[in-house]
């Protein structure tokens, strides 16, 4: 490979690449590396103690109660990821498909589907909290009014419904994004290919699964990767809706909350421990980085086959 010449093309590429890299290096990588270093020290509250090698990692992974907290949060993240995959991306795909057909009113629907995306998480969180309100919530009121009061639940208070409540809110909030990305992908499919399929089948199902879906692979890459990273970094919505503790009893706890709570403490926990918090963050990062990279590479390969 030729060396990067500092003239002409080389200079120009350098000029393009250096400022953005500098930003990321200075404001993300450098502080994060410092913070990661915390993971190797023992902390007494805010005071940094001795260098303890991997002890913090050992603690969060293998010592109770941290071990079960870590597992619980991770398990919840996995649930969130797969649930959103179906609810957010799956629904997004379906909606994109419906919008793509340009039926009457499509323009209006298109604006509507994307509207929640521009709302802030705070708004969404508060709204859905109100919806899930056991007494005055829209959901329970509606259920009661159609005579299905026995279905009314304290949605956010039960271990088996709280996380799903949050997931639903998240899916509502963000479904517009995959929808439009998929829609953009679908509109790139050449009309003749669609005609070709129609010559061979009427089945909508075949068209979607065998043709449309494979052909929107580039959109899927963007959507999947961002969802993966987003799901494992999930913080804001559960934080506002369920609090830092992952209430009730950890059933909405996710890695983002857990690491934040561990590092910075919360009102009830009292203790804050940067060492453990950073160890968790490092582990989360490594996990996401490895999987996101693998995922992206695999998805990109799928694209390239087109």
């Amino acid at each position: 490979m030729p060396k990067l010449r500092m003239t002409g093309r080389g200079l120009w590429i350098t000029l393009l690449i250096v400022p953005p890299m500098a930003f990321v290096a200075l404001f993300i990588v450098y502080p994060i590396l410092l913070a990661f270093a915390y993971a190797f020290f023992d902390w007494q509250g805010l005071r940094r103690g001795d260098f303890v090698w991997l002890e913090n990692f050992h603690t969060v992974l293998f010592v109770e109660p941290y071990r079960s907290w870590t597992l619980n949060a991770f398990k919840n993240n996995v649930i969130v990821f797969f649930a959103l995959m179906v609810l957010q991306n799956g629904l997004g795909f379906l909606l994109a498909y419906a919008l793509w057909r340009e039926m009457p009113g499509a323009r209006f629907h298109r604006i509507a589907v994307f509207l929640p995306v521009v709302l802030s998480t705070i708004i969404v969180a508060y709204l859905f909290k109100l919806f899930y309100h056991p007494l005055f919530g829209v959901i329970n009121i509606s259920l009661r009014s159609i005579g299905m009061g026995w279905l009314a639940q304290p949605w956010l208070g039960q271990g088996n419904t709280a996380l799903w409540g949050l997931i639903a809110a998240q899916a509502w909030h963000m479904v517009g994004f995959p929808t439009l990305v998929f829609l953009a992908g679908m509109q790139r499919i050449p009309g003749e290919i669609l005609d070709a399929v129609r010559m061979e089948t009427e089945s909508e199902w075949v068209k979607i699964t065998k043709i449309v879906w494979p052909l929107v692979a580039p959109s899927a890459t963007i959507v999947f990767t961002l969802l993966f990273v987003g799901a494992f970094n999930w913080f804001e919505l559960p934080y506002i809706m369920a609090g830092l503790d992952g209430s009730p009893f950890g059933s909405t706890d996710v890695l983002g909350l857990y690491f934040y709570r561990t590092a910075f403490g919360n009102v009830s926990a009292g203790q804050q421990d940067f060492g453990l918090g950073s160890a968790l963050a490092v582990l989360i990062f490594i996990f996401i980085a490895i999987f996101a990279t693998t995922l992206t590479i695999r998805l990109r390969r799928r694209e390239i086959q087109l």
């Binding site: 990067l4 990321v24 200075l26 009113g105 705070i122 709204l127 109100l130 009121i141 009309g191």
Partner: protein, 294 residues
């Protein structure tokens, strides 16, 4: 170029436009129902939020769906009187705007270099940005804080702009690299024959063509930046420099139990971006979906 998109959308239109067969009606009907249901689900919460902003808290609890008396603007007046709303709004515009300009500029620069030129280390650089996508920056708040202190931009909106820019770059580079890669080489060659410098090729020829990608990347970033209140909370203490979500969360902290005020605060903080979205929705969605341009 965009004839492709025109054809595609024309085909898409004729695609559904088949004669009155029962089956086809049923299927399109189903899709139409899904769309309408979805739209209701999408809009209802927003409508309820706006309605609630005009109600008192007991009214909200007793009749969450009812149409309020829109002249009852007490909640808004309270917010208006007790906060620096306009100032927060301007600050938010400034911070978000400046960050977006930087993100799109720098992000496009990096994506352009990675996507358009083959050079040693380009895939490493892409990985570098991808890694940035996955880092939990909240953890680094203390080093970041010290960094800002050393740069002398604590209590200065630059600190926010810089952090947001750095946070937005990875996604932007990720989304745009693929798009930029798919642009035809011949255009670049043509411009080169025309005597355009590399910079001008990028600026005058290639960038106008990646606008859809910029829209997608922009959306992906503008919303979290507009709504963020974590970093301002840490970096900004001067009330005159606060952003809207920060200012309002501080304010709403005092009204946790007054849902009416809360909702009017939420409505107010959502209003600017929602209005901008609706006004620009045509370009916005067109920009997004004309990703069809090949």
């Amino acid at each position: 170029m965009s004839t492709a998109s025109a054809t595609a959308s024309r085909k898409a239109m004729t695609y559904g436009d088949r004669p009155g067969m029962l089956a086809s009606l049923g299927r399109d009907g189903l899709l139409q129902i899904i769309l309408i249901a979805n739209t209701i689900i999408m809009l209802a919460p927003i409508v309820i939020m706006v309605f609630s902003a005009f109600k008192t808290t007991p009214q909200i609890f007793q009749a969450p769906f009812s149409i309020p008396d829109f002249t009852q603007v007490g909640n808004f007046i309270k917010i208006w009187n007790e906060t620096n709303f306009l100032r927060y709004l301007l600050n938010s515009f400034f911070v978000t705007g400046a960050s977006m300009v930087l993100i799109l500029t720098l992000g496009t620069m990096a994506a352009y270099a990675i996507g358009r030129y083959a050079f040693t280390g380009s895939s490493f650089i892409l990985m570098f940005f991808l890694a940035g996508l996955t880092l939990p920056l909240k953890l680094a708040i203390i080093p970041l804080f010290m960094l800002m202190r050393d740069l002398g931009i604590l209590n200065n909106q630059l600190s926010l702009i810089f952090v947001y820019t750095a946070m937005g770059l990875p996604t932007t580079v990720f989304i745009m690299t693929g798009f930029i890669r798919s642009l035809p080489n011949e255009l670049e060659d043509a411009a080169r024959m025309d005597g355009a410098s590399e910079a001008r090729i990028m600026w005058a020829i290639m960038l106008p063509l990646v606008r859809p990608a910029m829209v997608i990347a922009g959306i992906q970033n503008v919303v979290p930046i507009w709504n963020d209140f974590f970093f301002p909370l840490v970096f900004i203490q001067n009330d005159n420099l606060k952003t809207l979500p920060q200012g309002l969360t501080t304010f709403m902290g005092e009204y946790t139990t007054d849902w009416g005020v809360l909702f009017s605060g939420l409505t107010l903080s959502a209003a600017p971006i929602v209005i901008i979205y609706i006004v620009l929705s045509k370009q916005f969605i067109a920009g997004m979906t004309s990703g069809a341009v090949k």
